[in-house]
Assembly symmetry: C3
Homo-oligomer: 317 residues x 3
């Protein structure tokens, strides 16, 4: 059996560990209540908004019998508001809880936390850098829906540049042979050089196109759509202008009901959510209308199982 | 037995259902801890501040053995802050929880939620439109304190125009024969035409006066006081001026200790709370000074029993 | 056995009660889960940010078997946002919970709450006035680490003027014979006259110096460092200027690794936390580097035990 303590970057998961976690996830039933973690507690230390990650972790802990404590906005409601360092906050919470889930806008926040941590830290989203538990559930969704993690044709649409979920998923996909990744995005939001180099180094072929490529999409096993991360645009004088330009650039990449005909019968459409509302909505298909739309299950059942397995592995060995 | 799933508007409750809920509320003892809902969970999705509704639902769930999860400010701390639609949020939470309580500033929010919901939605306050569970506990308070729900003389003071609790209670009172409602408010805050038409249609007589009518108050079984909803005044250039005018208009409707002599011995004074603090305080009587003041019990014991009954009915049939 | 109901000011604790609480704290094991308060609930009513106090109370209640409910920001998310008075809020919560922990910026907030409370109120921090449960755990830390509460040489560094934890601890230390207190602070942050008079009245000798006095520090049993409470500086035109001046004044009082040589072998360094981050950090020693650094244990284990004892005493007699 593999060891697991901190969860910081998706590339840290070994094939053996992924298999073990996914087999645990298969076994766990979110409809049941377990007592595995009955005396365990964890703290959800969130410096950024969250709908799914926080609730999914809370529910996973609840289903396993453990107890969760949290702050919804550590910048405002914790001593950070009085100028406390992340390290001091982590030092304290490590003395109180068995595990900490951290979401923070700084790319290096999880590493900073680990430097003083005496309990496991799970990265629940670090800036535009990584979101390893999202990648874990994304790949679990693919495994359950497609039936394999290798030899996949994966198309990622929208914002490869700033989407931490795309970055983290690329690291996982690069562990399996035969996967091919295509990025469809405006030029202004192309995937960063570091991920491209990582893919090349791991012999994962990839393409990129600056239009909604029909041919590519018609061969895809997985169509992975992401939101344009306008909230990552710096707060400067040009902010609204930059955002308007990004959204205009991204408009040709909006996925609409008419595109459903392009996709293979046994493909799946994923989205890490949230989806932008209104006219800039990047995924304009109702999930109830086509069974290839799996993003609600991705967030719900698959997300819950994957996080239950992760917590159980870390806290129960 | 009646069926109950979504709770959106108070007019949806049938007489049979109200009787059933109130008999359950009579039986339930908030001092005890039950296990009826041991494996059930719900989510409190609040987009507006709440003291009583959120806590009362949480405690009701706790007393019945279930578990509650929540956000205190969905606008700031959930993916709404990243531009997610209410429908997408509801889609997700329905996959995770057995029931959702929604408080939202839009009048149509609960209907919008229901349109995609796969689990029961309870309206915990929708704009200035409805607050059906408040009406449920208000009528339960009357039933327990006065001993009946019909042939009541009910006086509603303050802000019939914007008070969603007055609106929701009017719908309930109109279901029983012989009730008479009097609205005492400044001309600027008169009850809307839709409720008046509803009362007329259901043969419920009503009056309105723009002063604190001594004769009316001396005959009242129930004196129901409400806050001037200055937070509903639009955020425009005239806002403070509009608020000042409203408060000046409402000043003659402030209830003071000297008015206690006007009221019948067996009447009750209710208030959905919160009460405005300071010089504009619309109810300047200390609840400890007169046993006809029931607004603390209304919020506490009666509120808890009514919500326990409601959750039990929906989740346990 | 002593009686304990409201906890408002640290001077209210008698020697007998302190002994009883500390003996309970010694007995309680935070690693275990108890069932003493299985049917008890409390509400954490916080109007100011908190990292440790809120979480420590929550965990203490959890370990004893009770349930906690809370708001992270009562100004924004409760009916205070609609203009409700603290008294009305307290009236309501007293009907719902067995105990209320209140943190509020007003110095008199706890007294105001007690005036209408029908359940025990614990002051979780009142403006710059008092923080009695912090003093309780501070003295417990000293008792456990030094082995006594009397004949102590205690040096308090930083901001005696605005630090409610220093004030509350002075009240406790003045109950035991032979204690000597030295305040080291800039002239702008000297201890208030009321505490000095209290110490004199209770025959507790004290000194004050406006520099980091080597001789004083080399004799100290307890070195108690505090943050400059810049958040207490009024929001006026001069605010930033006032803060800059305070921080400049306080710069010579920063404790650095080279000062460790000054301190006695069996002394302890305490801090109520949070510690300011960045260049103005008042305590620049890493707690992992010297076993005399006890501020993490102070907040964690000692804090948890002291608060568990307090809750148990109030709710279980």
């Amino acid at each position: 059996m593999s060891e697991l303590y901190h969860v910081i970057e998706s590339q840290q998961f070994t094939l053996e560990l992924l298999d073990e976690l996914y087999e645990m996830a298969d076994e766990l039933d979110p409809e049941r209540s377990y007592k595995f973690l009955n005396d365990k507690t964890f703290f959800l230390l969130f410096y950024e908004p969250s709908t799914r990650t926080r609730v999914s972790f809370q529910m996973a802990m609840h289903k396993l019998g453990g107890s969760s404590f949290m702050t919804e906005n550590a910048f405002k409601f914790s001593s950070v508001a009085k100028g406390e360092s992340l390290e001091d906050t982590i030092r304290y919470y490590c003395g109180m809880f068995d595990l900490i889930v951290l979401r923070h806008p700084d790319n290096n926040s999880s590493q900073d936390a680990v430097s003083v941590a005496t309990k496991p830290i799970i990265n629940g989203g670090s800036g535009s850098h990584q979101h390893p538990t999202q990648a874990l559930l994304d790949l679990y969704t693919i495994r359950c829906e497609i039936g394999r993690q290798d030899n996949l044709d994966v198309v990622m649409i929208g914002d490869p540049k700033y989407s931490r979920t795309i970055r983290s998923l690329c690291y996982l996909l690069s562990k399996y042979p035969g996967n091919h990744i295509t990025f469809l995005s405006p030029d202004s939001l192309k995937m960063g050089q570091d991920i491209k180099e990582h893919l090349t180094k791991h012999q994962i072929s990839f393409d990129e196109f600056s239009f909604l490529n029909h041919e590519v999409l018609s061969k895809a096993d997985v169509i992975y759509v992401t939101r344009i991360q306008t909230d990552r645009v710096p707060e400067d004088a040009d902010r609204q202008h930059t955002i308007d330009n990004l959204l205009a650039d991204a408009e040709p990449f909006i996925l609409k009901p008419e595109h459903l005909d392009w996709f293979k019968k046994d493909s799946i459409i994923m989205h890490p959510m949230p989806i932008q509302k209104g006219q800039n909505r990047e995924l304009q298909i109702d999930p109830e209308t086509d069974e290839r739309c799996v993003w609600i299950e991705q967030a719900n059942d698959y997300g819950l199982r994957a996080r239950m397995a992760l917590l159980l592995k870390i806290l129960n060995g």
